[in-house]
C-alpha cells in the first residue's frame, strides 16, 4: 500500500516537472538573432581591425610579417587580459556575445576572469587551477587536433 502511494507521488512529481519544463521552454525569451549577429559582427570586426592596425604599425619597423603576427597576438592577449582586470571587457561581452568571445582577447578574458574570481581559494587551487576552466578545454582539443593532423599528414604525404 505504501509502495503504491509512493509510486503515485513519484509519477505526479515527474508529471509536474515535465509540465514545468514545458512552461520554461514557452516563457524563455527567444534570442534576438539578428541583433546579436550584428553586434557580434561589429565588435568582432572592430577587434580584428584594431589588431590589423597594430600589425601595420609593427610592419613599419621592418619586422617580417610572421614575427609581427606573433607580436600582435601577444599585444592583443595583453589588452584582453588588462581590460578584463579593469572590468571593462565583461561589459563589452554582455552585448557582443561571440564577437568578444572568439577573438584571442576573449581567450585572455576567459583566463583572467576565472582566475580572478577564484583567487580567494588560494594561488594553487584558486588562481592556477581555475584559470584553465575555459582555456584548458581549448588547449586540450587544440593539441589533440594538431597531433591528429600531424600524424595523418605524416602517413599520407
Amino acid at each position: 500500500m505504501a509502495d503504491l502511494k509512493k509510486e503515485i507521488e513519484d509519477s505526479l512529481q515527474q508529471y509536474k516537472e515535465a509540465e514545468y519544463q514545458e512552461l520554461i521552454q514557452q516563457l524563455r525569451p527567444k534570442p534576438p538573432v539578428v541583433k546579436n549577429a550584428l553586434a557580434a559582427f561589429a565588435v568582432g570586426g572592430f577587434i580584428c581591425a584594431f589588431a590589423q592596425a597594430i600589425n601595420n604599425v609593427i610592419i613599419q619597423t621592418g619586422l617580417p610579417q610572421k614575427e609581427a603576427g606573433t607580436v600582435v597576438v601577444i599585444i592583443m592577449i595583453f589588452l584582453g587580459a588588462l581590460l578584463t582586470g579593469l572590468g571593462v571587457y565583461d561589459n563589452i561581452g554582455k552585448f557582443s556575445g561571440a564577437g568578444s568571445i572568439i577573438p584571442i582577447t576573449g581567450f585572455a578574458n576567459a583566463i583572467v576572469s576565472s582566475a580572478m574570481e577564484w583567487k580567494r581559494e588560494g594561488y594553487l587551487f584558486g588562481v592556477a587551477a581555475k584559470m584553465f576552466t575555459i582555456a584548458g578545454p581549448v588547449l586540450v582539443y587544440g593539441i589533440l587536433s594538431s597531433v591528429v593532423i600531424g600524424i595523418v599528414y605524416y602517413f599520407l604525404k
Binding site: 559582427f41 590589423q52 601577444i74 592577449i77 593532423i149
Partner: protein
C-alpha cells in the same frame, strides 16, 4: 587602410558565424563550446589548406579569432612532420603556438594577481 577594412570584414564574419551557432542551436551553447569548436574547426580547415587564403585576404581578421590559433597548431604539426618526421608531427603544433600560449598563461596570471573582480 584596405587591409584594416578586410580584417574587419573577415573577423566580423567569423564572429557572426559563431554567434549564429550560439543562437540557432536548440541546446545551450556556452562560450567554452564555441571556443573549442572554433579552434578544432580552424585546425581542420587549415589542414585542408583552406585557411591560408582567408589570412591572405583578411590578415588579422583571420589570425586573431581563435580559428587562427587552430590554424597555427595545424600548420605547426604539418611542417613539424615535414622536418622531423613523427616526433615533429606530435610536437610541431605546440612549438608553433608556444609564444601565444606562454603569453596567455603569464599575462593572464599576472593580471589575476594585480586585479580583483568588480562588484
Amino acid at each position: 587602410m584596405v587591409k584594416i577594412l578586410m580584417a574587419f570584414l573577415i573577423g566580423g564574419l567569423i564572429c557572426l558565424l559563431g554567434q549564429l551557432i550560439m543562437d540557432l542551436t536548440p541546446f545551450s551553447v556556452t562560450p567554452t563550446h564555441i571556443l573549442v569548436a572554433v579552434v578544432i574547426g580552424g585546425a581542420f580547415v587549415s589542414a585542408f589548406g583552406w585557411y591560408q587564403p582567408l589570412i591572405d585576404i583578411g590578415g588579422a581578421g583571420a589570425t586573431i579569432p581563435l580559428s587562427g590559433f587552430g590554424h597555427s597548431l595545424a600548420q605547426g604539426a604539418i611542417s613539424g612532420a615535414e622536418k622531423n618526421g613523427l616526433l615533429g608531427a606530435i610536437g610541431g603544433g605546440m612549438e608553433a603556438t608556444a609564444v601565444g600560449v606562454v603569453g596567455a598563461v603569464v599575462l593572464g596570471y599576472l593580471m589575476a594577481l594585480i586585479f580583483n573582480p568588480q562588484g
